[in-house]
């Protein structure tokens, strides 16, 4: 699948990285995926936040994920006028449920859109879209499929 990085300038929106979320984005740059776990009540959360949404504790453990999960739901996007995306149609938008529990929004790559199915086992691929930003996408799992 053609990657945006082959172009001169990456045209899709990039995340705003701040002091609260920087550790997560830096880990992704190292090709590592983390979720957070409250050290006080044990609640898991994604995306990263300073305080636990269950008990408001700021005592947080970063849990490294295996990078494996299953497609919870998806859509093959055939129309999006927005800059960057209109040049990469069709693309697969999905919510993936990590084996650790939380769901995250992503793209399914390295797979023809017509073969994408709910509950398909997938594994993380780290797409270094710019020198500063890496995005976590998923492809069909090689070992388990």
């Amino acid at each position: 699948m053609p990657q945006e990085r082959d172009k001169k300038r990456y045209a899709k929106p990039l995340p705003h990285i701040d002091e609260e979320n920087r550790p997560w984005w830096e880990a992704v740059q190292r090709h590592e995926l983390y979720i957070q776990k409250c050290r006080d009540c044990g609640d898991l959360r994604f995306h990263p936040r300073a305080l636990c949404t269950n008990c408001l504790s700021s005592n947080t453990e970063w849990v490294k994920c295996k990078g494996s999960g299953r497609i919870y739901t998806f859509t093959v996007t055939n129309q999006n006028q927005a800059s960057g995306f209109r040049d990469s149609l069709p693309y697969v938008l999905a919510w993936v449920q990590l084996d650790e529990g939380p769901k995250l929004m992503t793209n399914i790559v390295d797979c023809p859109p017509e073969r994408v199915k709910i509950d398909m086992p997938v594994e993380a691929v780290f797409d270094d879209v710019t020198p500063e930003v890496t995005l976590v996408k998923f492809r069909p799992a090689t070992a388990r499929s």
Binding site: P13, P15, L44, T75, T77, Q81, K103
Partner: protein, 386 residues
């Protein structure tokens, strides 16, 4: 404290325009306020409460609109929770009137979404500033796509079919054919819906609402004052509102805001599902209707596909909805909750001509704002003419 029958909608106005390149959003809003006041038999001098939200307004848009209209109300509510805002405003206005904060509240909306060429459903380039946006916008979620993911999961879990979703669009078009103001009035078939191009799987073009210009306004006052006004009052029986989102990564995506807002509205209104004679259900997409009906409790989760089939939702069916043709065929100027309340009131008054639901005594309106597949609001309102 129960709000039941203490306040009423006494004026409604749907702006007839569907395409108005010659008008500003503010002019459409002002004309809508004028229309609703005339409908109620009130004047601009009677307004002492104002509620609005819009897509083209600034963050303090309600103050700008008061400037434009030269209003200095005693109560203002600029709550913006997307397309459901005006359903929520109606409840907020009722509560404010009941609490003595104001006496006559006007709720208004206007938009030039079509003539301004907003790519509402398929412009997912976003770049919003909220923390959650940073983990979503990089992957290209369009509004259609976010709803499509709900449809995909519903089909996977319950075997819901594209034909069942298509029947919702077909029914809305039938209703639009009886509404002279509707933008699209030519009948369509299930085959037409399935043959239209797939925008974001599994949703076809005709599973998606249209984009139009438009506007409307509502007037709410106390039940006591309502008795002396021109039109038969539509009393507010109960209301509820809430939001749903990714829930720190742990959401059950087929449970939507309507489950909570609907439960609250029914409890507060003191009526049950079988008492509802017709409903106005936000139809941004066909799947929105199906999941909303399930979550409001009109059928069980997973049974929505069967529930919407066989003509049940037609104006002359067992459970009529969206008799104006809905967002799928009549109008959708960006935030459609306004028109849910307007049509519900017209049905309760018996003003709907060929699409009138027989013996309509209790109506429900449910607005959805945002996107079911990412985050959204839901607001439910139950009204009666009794």
């Amino acid at each position: 404290m129960s709000l039941s029958r203490k306040t009423a909608l006494v004026g409604v106005y749907e702006h007839p325009t569907r395409f108005a390149p010659d008008k500003s959003m503010y002019q459409i809003m002002a004309e809508s306020v004028s229309g609703a006041l005339q409908d109620a038999g009130l004047t601009i001098k009677d307004i002492d409460g104002l509620c609005t939200a819009g897509m083209g307004m600034g963050p303090m848009g309600i103050v700008g609109f008061c400037d434009y209209m030269n209003l200095t109300p005693n109560f203002v509510d600029g709550t913006n929770i997307g397309g459901s805002s005006f359903v929520a405003h109606t409840a907020h206005a009722a509560a404010a009137i009941n609490a003595g904060l104001c006496e006559v509240a006007v709720i208004v909306y206007g938009s030039t979404a079509a003539s301004g060429r907003f790519a509402i459903g398929t412009g997912g380039g976003g770049g919003g500033g909220d923390p959650c946006d940073q983990y979503e916008f990089p992957f290209g979620p369009t509004t259609v796509g976010a709803y499509a993911m709900i449809a995909q999961r519903h089909m996977y879990d319950y075997g819901t079919t594209p034909e069942q979703l298509a029947e919702i669009a077909v029914t809305m078009r039938l209703h639009a054919s009886m509404n002279p103001l509707a933008k699209y009035r030519d009948p369509i078939t299930v085959e037409d819906v399935l043959a239209s191009r797939v925008i974001s799987s599994p949703l076809h073009l005709l599973d998606c609402c249209i984009i139009s210009d438009g506007g409307g306004a509502l007037v709410v006052t106390s039940a006591e004052r309502a008795r002396d006004l021109k039109k038969k009052p539509a009393y507010i029986l109960g209301a509820g509102e809430t939001v749903r989102h990714a829930a720190r990564g742990q959401r059950d995506f087929l449970e939507i805001a309507a489950a909570q807002s609907g439960r609250l509205a029914f409890e507060r209104a003191g009526v049950s599902h079988k008492d509802i004679d017709m409903a106005m259900i936000y139809d941004s997409f066909t799947i929105t209707v199906l999941t909303t009906l399930e979550n409001l409790g009109f059928c069980k989760r997973g049974e929505g596909g069967a529930f919407v089939s066989g003509g049940r939702l037609r104006y002359d069916g067992d459970f009529p909805i969206n008799t104006d043709g809905g967002g799928l065929s009549s109008n959708h100027p960006g935030m459609r909750g306004m028109f849910l309340v307007i049509e519900a009131v017209k049905q309760l008054r018996g003003e709907c001509g060929p699409r009138q639901v027989k013996d309509c005594k209790i109506a429900l309106a449910h607005g959805t704002g945002g996107a079911l597949g990412t985050r959204h609001s839901g607001a439910t309102l139950i009204l009666t003419n009794q």
